[in-house]
Subunit: 138 residues, 2 copies
């Protein structure tokens, strides 16, 4: 079952405020990554731009959400999954961007195969962005 926003805020020791709850709810409702403007589009009427910026920053700092790279270079954000935030060593992210529906989401179950790097390189973190067509848009 999906966690509710109140619980998430409590878990991360964040105060429950209207804007945080609303933004979190957006992330919960949409399974895919949201850009700043996605969020603003849905919320701007209610909350100040600055609040949205600051809330995202707080969530990032606390590890509630993480950055998702878009192929165009625009940044998006997505909720961190349980393992992502609790296990220190979970330093891999696989994101899939569907070129049809335009949505980007995390593929939690996909693991990145070992990559052979040239001598002398040490890997700390790996990010994989895959583009193509998702199962819904086939």
């Amino acid at each position: 079952m999906q966690k509710l926003e109140g619980q998430i805020l409590k878990d991360y020791e964040l105060r429950t405020t209207t804007s945080r709850s609303a933004i979190l709810r957006l992330f919960i409702k949409n399974a895919f990554a949201l850009s700043y403007s996605d969020i603003e589009r849905e919320i701007a009427a209610t909350f100040d731009r600055v609040t949205v910026y600051r809330t995202l920053k707080t969530f990032l700092d606390k590890g509630v959400i993480h950055k998702v790279l878009d192929d165009e270079g625009s940044l998006k954000y997505a909720l961190c999954s349980e393992p992502c935030s609790t296990h220190e060593h979970h330093h891999e992210h696989v994101h899939f961007k569907c070129s049809t529906c335009g949505h980007t989401n995390c593929l939690e179950d996909v693991t990145i195969p070992m990559v052979r790097l040239p001598k002398g390189y040490v890997v700390a973190e790996v990010n994989l962005l895959i583009q193509g067509t998702c199962n819904n848009c086939q």
Copy 2:
């Protein structure tokens, strides 16, 4: 041997102008990916900001350079290698960002292993961003 900027411009059927040559020379000189501000820092005195933006756009459109995703979400650019621009099917990029020196470069020789995706997903393009320590910074 490294190609010279004049040759590159000719290859891509672009007019040879002072700013294009200068910006290309920057990319040739630096083996790593450059952000817009990296470029401006070195060039701004000589060329207008707008020219830099437009030149980068032209280079992107023609395939002279490609976008490099940064873990922070800031965009960088790097020269396309021969195979990158000539072979239609070269749709893979591996970039390595060293957390010590901060440079990001393309690992041309590294190929991305096949990734097993859930049923229904079709892959068109893959981007891998690896972070860690590069061979120089060990």
